[in-house]
């Protein structure tokens, strides 16, 4: 009898695992289906899907770094500010006649540096992530405004504007270079998360920090790297933001970190650490983007969108919780 129970238990575990993987896909599919029915003319078109993909790039790139941070049991509230800082630094450099590529690298470096500082505070100074990154959120926002002289920074047109262009000048690309960057990044960070020591250690720390320390993992150093990596990914997202705006804007992306965190959580990331995946995060980001796009198209007002997204975030976590409770 016990054997029977054990076997059905194993089957249950498998079903649950399967469900947790396809769950977000199902959600995404339902949303696409719903809007396709509501707006059959405009919504399910190739061009519209490209638009949505383009709109997802910024959140998705930042959310890849956030996935690592959340899996390690942390949080990063400074994402929005770092995106703004990146746009400002990039714009200033371009404006000073720096090569656009170097300017973009400079923007990414500025964001990475903020991640390095957060990582140092969290890893070595043992300041809890919420506080360290809350502080960094204010600092980076302030520095951006200061550098930009409290106004938008105009920069001459360069190929950087092309990154987020929906109709790239290189026709074979089909989608914007930004979407390609998102796809390639996703593949790299997925492999890194699943098969590299860095990824394994990130999971271990989030799952049980004491055990990780016991197993000889440099927990402090790892946290330092995880937040630095988060800053780096946010920097790339910031360059995309600059490309979309075509100016440096110190007031852009206020509160964007919440979208980024929501994408990770909808995709199955657990704020208590140890759980999450890049694929899930991407789907989470797409769920929100499709919702916004579909609501705009069907003329559903902004405030309803906000309510729906709020419900989806809570719903995703509630379903996850239910699944866990059944498991124990």
């Amino acid at each position: 009898m016990n054997d029977g129970n054990a076997k059905s238990g194993v089957v249950n575990v498998k079903i649950r695992k399967l469900f947790s993987i396809i769950g977000p896909f199902l959600g995404l599919g339902m949303i696409i289906l719903l809007f396709s029915v509501l707006e059959p003319e405009k919504f399910p078109t190739f061009f519209n899907f490209l638009t949505v993909a383009n709109q997802t790039v910024i959140v998705a790139l930042a959310a890849m770094g956030m996935t690592y941070i959340i899996i390690s049991g942390g949080i990063d509230l400074s994402v929005g500010s770092l995106i703004a800082l990146t746009t400002v630094v990039t714009a200033l450099l371009v404006d000073h006649g720096v090569n656009p590529f170097i300017a973009a690298v400079g923007g990414v470096l500025a964001s990475t540096l903020c991640g390095v500082v957060s990582g140092w505070l969290i890893g070595y100074m043992k300041i809890i992530p919420f506080i360290a990154t809350l502080g960094m959120m204010g600092i980076a926002r302030g520095v951006s405004k200061w550098m930009a002289g409290q106004q938008k920074v105009d920069a001459p047109m360069t190929w950087l504007w092309e990154l987020m262009s929906r109709s790239p000048s290189l026709k074979w690309m089909i989608v914007s270079p930004g979407v390609w960057i998102m796809i390639v990044s996703a593949v790299i960070v997925t492999v890194m998360l699943k098969y590299s020591l860095f990824g394994r250690y990130t999971f271990a720390i989030g799952s049980n920090e004491s055990t990780a320390r016991l197993c000889g993992i440099h927990v402090e150093r790892m946290k330092f790297f995880i937040y630095s990596f988060g800053g780096f990914m946010t920097g790339i997202a910031g360059v995309m933001q600059f490309s979309r705006l075509t100016v440096g804007d110190p007031t852009v992306a206020v509160g964007r970190e919440l979208d980024v965190i929501a994408a990770v959580v909808i995709g199955g990331g657990s704020l208590s650490g140890g759980e999450g995946s890049i694929l899930g995060t991407l789907i989470g980001a797409f769920i929100m983007a499709f919702l916004r796009n579909g609501c705009n198209m069907t003329g559903i007002p902004n405030y309803v969108q906000e309510i729906i997204i709020g419900i989806i975030i809570i719903g995703a976590v509630a379903i996850d919780k239910l699944r866990h409770n059944k498991a124990t």
Binding site: L197, R200, A204, N208, T211, L214
Partner: protein, 502 residues
């Protein structure tokens, strides 16, 4: 027939497929101290959790004061008259004694707590306990462990407790505090309050208890009057077999010196520790909980900071700079945590992850690892150590205590360590797995490893170690061959230190 206040009959409880209790009986009389004896994993804590309403029995009946007793939850159990005093105290450290005593039973009016209602009772309770530091306004975090324990007892006095459960109450107390506690127990007895007394220290039970019940592998294997029963008889009941079968002796030779520790100390513990261990030697460190044994092992592994002193591993250069787990793993030192649930294992991770986590680097190429290699490695250890699992990709939390401990040990073996620091290696492990772990320890010694074992269970140390040293208040006494020790001499040194050193 004594006048029975509490009876538990035919209590059974299973967790998953594991039968923790199989028809246990326990009867406690009015105003008696009843010792509940058994090894770790015998089912004592499960039985007490059922009594306290924390978990429900699958089968069996309970009567309290002649009435059927079926607690819904711990709060109801407490209101009915059952008070638990656990090893890990359930106190809010930041609140005062008074606030702690009223926690959960506050009467409020318009949302405001009416403090006066309980003031007299609190004063009376604290007077009964006669401890100088216990004042209503003292913050619990400022009190000594002994005084904190008394706060828990006072909590029971306020709710008119009929039966107290004291779980290892003296394990972290000094001799003086222990005597004070025994005084309190006598006061309680004189008020016709009953006490279920759980302890590993048989001398203590001889001294304080009236009757006893012995549990083994989830069954009641004996009960009787403490006065009419010899200590040897009780141990025999606990272990259930002659000591020789319990501790398989694997022949091993003692070789050259492998680890030498001189005068190490840390804040707050230990104060002074010096010893050496040779290849093939099993050193046991005995002592009371809180004497600094665990802290000593943690320093040796780099988890606690070293304030002064030196650690030398033969064949490696002296350690300059901070000692951290990676540094010590690099010197082939491995550590088994006493706290398997919170530290030793990542319970929500798979068996394979837990076995390979500390040696991932070894399996990696260019910083990348494949699941297949890790699973194969884990399979090898699962077979070698006979760990009962369906698949190495299952979560560790699905395993029984004994199998979890084997997973933790497999990790140390995978590290290919030379020095094994084992902190309570058989805590929460069933008897069968215990014997297997003892055999493994012997085999490691025969392979020329050095093993340092901390255990609170003396027969275990006496059964498997080559040498034993006793720790008393942060100071480690000198190491002696196991033949020169017995339970009495170890306890004597553990409780009072060596003459002239304190």
């Amino acid at each position: 027939m004594p006048d029975i206040i509490l009876s538990m009959t035919g209590i059974s409880k299973s967790f998953g497929g594991v039968k923790a209790l199989r028809g246990v009986n326990l009867e406690v009389a009015h105003g008696e101290v009843h010792a509940l004896i058994g090894e770790n994993g015998a089912g004592k804590s499960t039985l007490m959790k059922i009594l306290s309403g924390a978990i429900k029995a699958d089968n069996g009946e309970m009567f309290l004061d002649g009435e059927p007793y079926r607690p819904r939850d711990p709060l109801q159990a407490r209101q009915t008259g059952i008070s638990m005093v656990y090893q890990e105290l359930n106190l809010a450290m930041h609140l005062t004694v008074e606030e702690n005593l009223m926690l959960g039973i506050e009467k409020s009016q318009f949302g405001l707590i009416r403090r006066n209602m309980y003031r007299d009772r609190i004063r009376e309770a604290l007077d009964t306990l006669q401890h100088p530091d216990l004042t209503p306004n003292a913050r619990v975090m400022d009190l000594s462990p002994a005084a904190r324990q008394l706060v828990e007892i006072a909590r029971g006095l306020i709710t008119d407790t009929k039966v107290y459960v004291l779980d290892e109450p003296t394990s972290s107390l000094s001799k003086m505090d222990t005597e004070h506690l025994f005084g309190v127990i006598n006061t309680l007895k004189s008020r016709n309050v009953s006490i279920i007394y759980i302890s590993h220290f048989l001398e203590e039970i001889k001294y304080v208890a009236d009757r006893f019940t012995v549990l083994r592998d989830g069954e009641t294997v004996g009960h009787g009057d403490v006065r009419d029963t010899t200590t040897e008889k009780i141990i025999e009941l606990m272990v259930g077999r002659p000591l020789t079968d319990m501790f398989p002796r694997i022949p091993h030779e003692i070789g050259e010196e492998l680890i030498s520790v001189s005068n190490i100390s840390s804040k707050p513990l230990p104060e002074q520790v010096t010893f050496t261990v040779r290849r093939g030697e099993i050193l046991g460190i005995a002592g009371l909980v809180g004497a600094g044994r665990t802290e000593t092992l943690r320093i040796l592994y780099g988890l606690n900071e070293l304030s002064s002193g030196e650690i030398k591993i033969s064949g490696y250069s002296g350690i300059t700079g901070k000692i951290t787990p990676p540094v010590m793993i690099g010197r082939k030192v491995a550590y088994l945590s006493e706290d398997r649930k919170n530290e030793g294992l990542a319970l929500e991770c798979t068996i394979a992850v837990n076995i390979t986590l500390s040696s991932l680097k070894k399996h990696g190429t260019w910083g990348f690892v494949s699941d297949r290699t890790l699973n194969e490695t884990s399979h090898r250890w699962v077979d070698t150590l006979a760990i009962k699992v369906d698949s190495v990709t299952n979560k560790v939390e699905s395993l029984s205590g004994g199998n979890q401990q084997k997973v933790a040990l497999a990790r140390l073996l995978e590290e290919e360590a030379d020095v094994f620091l084992l902190d309570e290696p058989t805590r929460g492990v069933d008897v069968g797995s215990k014997v297997e772990i003892f055999r493994l320890i012997g085999e490691l010694a025969s392979q020329g490893k050095a093993l340092i074992i901390v255990s609170s269970y003396l027969p275990e140390l006496l059964g498997i170690c080559d040498t034993i040293a006793v720790m008393h208040r942060g100071i480690l006494g000198s190491k002696q061959p196991v033949e020169q020790w017995d339970e009495f001499s170890i306890m004597n040194e553990a409780t009072s230190g060596i003459e002239g050193t304190v």
